[in-house]
């Protein structure tokens, strides 16, 4: 007669994927590649920020971009003239996951002749919810919040802001025309993640790009020297 018994497991269902992400992140660290996961609501200005970043650096660093969308390669078309780019299309999934990022990374590496990158910039699917729960092997998680959104948004998306190292307030040129308060938005985010770095940009006019790019550069330097070990935030 068959009996029943209990097997104790105590394991995260996503443990294997997390471990893979951690290993890939270590590999990037060894290669001196700073990986950035850029997140936001749809239309907050992620692609524009990447375009402006690429223009600002103007070839000074070896950059690669992976851009995720449900459909089309419109964003990749915008970025490709400025920086080596590969489009990831999910066909329906509302967030990027590591396996798809790996596939795109392989193709991107081939495109650039397997040269090591200084920066790998990953533009996630426009979504403030699900991407917060998926490690893409990034060092830095950055959330973009535009001035046409509510300055009380951070509290509504706690996991997103809790797990982000930095926030970029985009479309700063519209501030005179919208009720958005930069101070309020930053304060709301700092209730959730006190150490979150905050930047203001207008990608169309290249305002605030220097501070933003310097932040990326300094972060990379600290990673390369080992002064800082960048890991996912809880």
């Amino acid at each position: 007669m068959a009996g029943t018994r209990t097997i104790e497991v105590q394991q995260d269902v996503r443990a294997a994927l997390r471990q893979q992400a951690a290993e890939l992140r270590d590999e990037f660290t060894r290669q001196g590649t700073l990986v950035v996961n850029l997140l936001s609501s749809p239309g907050a200005g992620k692609t524009s920020l990447l375009e402006a970043t690429a223009r600002f650096w103007n070839g000074r660093f070896r950059c690669g971009v992976l851009v995720g969308d449900l459909e089309t390669d419109r964003d990749a078309q915008r970025l490709a003239p400025l920086v080596p780019t590969r489009q990831l299309t999910t066909g329906g999934a509302c967030h990027l996951e590591l396996p798809l990022v790996r596939q795109g990374l392989e193709r991107l590496r081939e495109d650039i002749g397997n040269q090591p990158l200084d920066f790998l910039l990953i533009e996630n699917i426009g979504n403030l919810v699900c991407p917060a729960s998926h490690d893409l092997a990034e060092h830095l998680r950055v959330v973009v919040l535009s001035t046409t959104e509510g300055d009380d948004k951070p509290g509504k998306y706690p996991k997103m802001f809790r797990t982000s190292h930095a926030m970029v307030i985009s479309k700063s040129d519209l501030l005179p025309h919208v009720p958005f308060s930069v101070d309020a938005a930053i304060a709301d985010a700092r209730l959730i993640r006190p150490e979150i770095e905050a930047f203001q940009v207008c990608s169309l006019r290249n305002d605030g790009l220097q501070e933003w790019c310097q932040f990326l550069q300094h972060t990379r330097e600290r990673m390369v020297t080992g002064d800082e070990v960048l890991a996912p935030l809880r």
Binding site: T6, V9, Q10, D12, A93, C130, R162, L191
Partner: protein
């Protein structure tokens, strides 16, 4: 939508563990999730029902524990829990806290049925 892929991953994980322990079948799967897991318990239950129906796991009991957030305060040292999402210490209000739980979807235990028929016959008395 990804509750479905999570449930698929859960079932694979359970199968793999059950196999490794020489178990014949799974009777129950106990999981826990918290407010910061990014996972919805209702959708998990729904996806579980859909993924197991008509398969060999049809009838497996999913036991789902909803757990609170747990954290430790670097200010006053307190270990705390909260059913609601919060990022400050309930005791001293410090924001110097670390989240220690409630942000994962964890497989806790499996209840499995053993393939013990042949072994019992071979061993005779217990």
């Amino acid at each position: 939508m990804h509750e479905r892929s999570l449930v698929v991953a859960l079932l694979r994980q359970a199968e793999s563990i059950a196999d490794a322990h020489g178990a014949v079948g799974i009777e129950a799967i106990r999981v826990e999730l918290g407010p910061l897991s990014g996972v919805d318990s209702t959708l998990v239950r729904l996806a579980f029902e859909q993924e197991t129906r008509g398969t060999r796991h049809d009838g497996v009991n999913l036991v789902l524990d909803e757990i609170p957030i747990s954290g430790v305060c670097r200010g006053c040292g307190m270990n705390w829990t909260s059913a609601e999402v919060r990022f400050s210490c309930p005791s001293c209000r410090s924001q110097a806290i670390q989240i220690t739980g409630g942000d994962e979807f964890r497989l806790l235990e499996l209840q499995v049925t053993d393939d013990t028929v042949e072994h019992e016959a071979a061993e005779g008395d217990d």
